[in-house]
Symmetry: D3
Subunit: 244 residues, 6 copies
């Protein structure tokens, strides 16, 4: 059975910095990844595109950001979709929650990754967390028989925010992305509106690899991404093979 | 390579209620389990043995508790050892920390399980946590080259205390023990000094199974034990097979 | 002066599992209990009723759930009312907050019991907490002279959620329900759409009784329910008779 | 049966500022109060006595502090004892823990009051918390049959530290001390080495009374002391008379 | 360059009790202070004005409250404005968030002060926190180039709520207001609808001065106000002159 | 009056990675810095020195580490001292606490910097925190007249641990070290036993500079170190010049 991963970002480039390696790893292992953006981030994080050409229309900026994310997604091996809800501020309504719940129910992912509950540096990020939290609950029900179709509750993680400590982010899961790190670098290079982040997140991959080595003693981990789980995991043994 | 699990209990029966199923699961899967008690619990939790026969010597009580734990360990498939440090209160010295560090270094477990950091109902339980915390650090070093022999830092969990909420226990890992639950019941039956706990922990296995089903949707989980991880895990993918 | 208790559940059966014994105890002691449901839970937790008869209309399901709750309330000795706001998801508006504030002002309870602030397994439960929090504030004012009629701020508790540790529930108050436990069992039996919960919550009553005995040493407590207080209590002495 | 309260202060005057009214209230209601100081505070808080007369011996300072506490205790209606363990820093050994456990076992209090777990302004205060925590556990056992004599576990509170927010103090229990506030003022007046605290704690009584009125609406509470409970309470009903 | 401070209160008198001294200090030092109220508090905290004259119209009450705040602001040396959004409950819409974001962008303060994130005693206070949090983010962007005009992110504090411990308030910054305390008293005297608060907050100034002296050893601090910072500060040295 | 900073590290190289820039900044501004190591870290972090030459004696390793720290201290502009208490594990006695309290009392620093309260990767780091906490209290007293000589309580910070999120480190204070960053690099180069850390901490300086720019908008900050304050600061205004 194919493993399925859903990544939900508030803006169309969030996934590449924060989960690009993890996406590529799942794809490499034969899994299916749906990379869903709630907005294009056309206002809050496209300043470089506006500076290049102040006469661009909002639609042109969105089109450029769509192309960049499709290109990066192709490199990582995932499908890209954008709900185009607008950014800075993003507005979430009951209808939009229901729209996302339907997407989750249809895709039936094993795992969902999204933003953290808190992020003092961006009003859209915690909102993305909230809408994912509620839509995930509505798609899965309370774990009991219900009046509507339900899926099994997906495992649910938050990816790393830009300033982790100030966003209450305490990582509990590190993913070794050594084998796909070149793909992540290539995917980050597609995001030319935020190029200054490429070297920042290249360094971060190295630092999180250092942390993973210190935590586990496994010297083969050169690069890593880290996550915070929002629900417990259910295992078949406390010493699984995957604690490789 | 054989998987190795070390369980450290403050008293010689702690493991059976709190990790008996998880031990049996590892053994069933071909792993090796060292079941280490820091004391026999001859004072704090052997009241029934003293009531039976007030003339028993302390050594007789220890002997009886040793036999019960060996019998239960044989059922679960693990080796039992006791350091006989005394209980209620247990006294921990620098030498005893070093003794435990040596045991950890020699056994080189993949995973260690012990008590929680807090437990308002038993002074020995948090002490066991502290001595394991320090001994684990001393056996593994700071993740850098050191003047002494080091092992890879074992993954480290706390098992469930008797009153979880009041001990700051928030489970993040559930182990399906359905296939070995009969063994756990048989092992618990060996502990005749604390027989009243057998039905309590049989019920708890069922309740934690209910929780695991609700969290994951996996209907095959009938019985579970749950744990709190004290260090992050390092994985090869975010959708591993073991999230079965 | 009659003691008055208000119980606010998101769905029409929540009260019976979580506070049924405490309600019966207050009634037995001559108090008055208003048992208020914000919705019938006709979507999220009525799967069994729909399975029995897929052709049932929503109104028939509501009617069945109303009858079950009235029957159970009669056994426990309280009055049952439902605001019928819909479930999964429940929608809360400013008008609905004001409606609840009016009910609280009119009933003027000594104590309010409702859900916890967090519950990762049900989107309606935290919403019920929020609406009670705000309506209670609006009914009581800020403790100073106001432009509107005010009541004394009721003492305010959260009852136990299905997975307490994952909902941030740390109990600080246990109620001995030994003398009314048969009534709770009978009331739970009325909820035939969720029959699987009856044995679960019967066991929980026993477990919480065990905890209460260990905390206090009082051997007469066989069954208990537990709560988390959301506001301080004001006492006449630190060794009151009621710490029986 | 007489209600019994044990108050344990690190230094011989701590009780009067932090629990003087609550002690007087229990005494007034016919209860028995043992007021136990672990030290005289002869070094850390007796500067005024040394300034008055730099030639005083340590023993003279202790004697003066003993007399002041006996005088204040007589006003409040409790018995005063001091273990004279030394202050700033206080040294706690296993023998001293056992000494306190024996005192608790012999007195068998319904309620114990002591310092908070944290207090960044005084190294002796958290130490007093720790020794009470452990001695209380040793006197009561783990709630199960043991090899030694046990008492029922006393209810356990922390009193208010000088800088509550910085000491992690969140009050959950307010005691109305209006009827005995004059006694508290008279008792505080006995502590002439720390006279500057009398007006501070008179004001605090008024402020906590204001808070209690706002929380409950009860206008008759003029003065209050507040506490943080360290263990749950077991009640016979959720609307007890004592929530007066 | 003139230092600029923005104070945002939910109701038109909040600033005077909680930040009056700090405002006067900034003004005295040549800074500019904008004192912004989101509402007049005409319902929740004007009971005395209604009692005086039950026939007053809402507009008359607002006018009286406006005059009192202007008078107090003149004493403190700041400009007073009110957005008149209504109170108890205050309703916040996306448009009102945008309105406040525009005000912040136009004034471009160095520092913003508002309520705490939690306040169980007043539903409008946490709402004021939320609207300031979001408007501040929208005015400053995410610290990267954006499609809209941005200001530097202001430093951001919460002032002290009426019951600090129950509102999660842990002060990390004390401001010495000794030199302007007479002005604060005079400003508080203007608020005749809440006269009972004047002595309360006079005492609080003294108590917080006591705390500041104990924390720092600086005996010259007689009166203080305290705050909780919501974002880190960036300093040029770890031993700045301002830690006077 | 000269500003004085005391830095206390568990091992003789801790200061350079974690506070080297902040030390150099204070020195550059004319302040005096005492750089105190509790041990040489001869066991836990000198593996490279042992690998170079397995025949080295412990004393030779200590001597080498002393020379490296003196060289680095000379570059940063501070005085280096080592108490040589031994490492991995470090043992702290009452006498050693008193020894450190005397050093603090004699030096009378304005600010103390040391490790964090928690650090799961090194048993000596939290111990250093504890001994500093207690020694600082003993040197300053409880803020009241005492029987012994006292200094004003120094401001107290924790520097950044190697894995900040897992050590409970939430930075609240960033120091701009741009002007002295070359000195920090040169000082780090002296520590040839831990060379692999030089690039790690060079990157960290850049990352924390990025964070400081995002927090404040101040583009001139290229490199920063960050800290967590353990006690509140007392300021003369809420918009000080030093928030440059």
């Amino acid at each position: 059975m194919t493993k399925k991963l859903l990544v939900v970002g508030a803006h169309s480039a969030d996934y590449v910095w924060r989960a690009g390696g993890t996406i590529a790893k799942v794809a490499e292992q034969g899994g299916q990844v749906l990379n869903l953006a709630l907005s294009y981030g056309e206002r809050g994080e496209s300043g470089e595109l506006w500076k290049e050409n102040p006469n661009r229309s909002v639609d042109e900026v969105k089109k450029l950001r769509h192309e960049m994310s499709e290109e990066a997604s192709a490199i990582l091996g995932c499908e890209f979709k954008c709900l185009d809800w607008g950014d800075y501020p993003m507005i979430v309504t009951e209808e939009r929650v229901a729209q996302l719940a339907d997407i989750i129910r249809d895709f039936a992912p094993n795992v969902i990754i999204t933003h953290t509950k808190e992020d003092p540096f961006n009003p859209d990020h915690p909102l993305a967390y909230q809408v994912v939290e509620k839509a995930r609950q509505l798609s899965a029900g309370a774990g009991v028989a219900a009046a509507f179709a339900r899926i099994n509750p997906p495992v649910w993680y938050s990816f790393e925010p830009h300033q982790p400590e100030l966003s209450g982010f305490v990582p509990d899961t590190f993913i070794d992305i050594t084998s796909v790190f070149e793909k992540k670098i290539a995917a980050m290079a597609c995001m030319r509106a935020q190029e200054y982040l490429k070297s920042y997140y290249t360094e971060l991959g190295s630092r999180r690899g250092n942390h993973a080595r210190r935590i586990s003693g496994k010297q083969q981990v050169k690069y890593a991404e880290c996550f915070k789980s929002n629900v417990p995991v259910i295992l078949d043994t406390i010493v699984p093979d995957m604690h490789f």
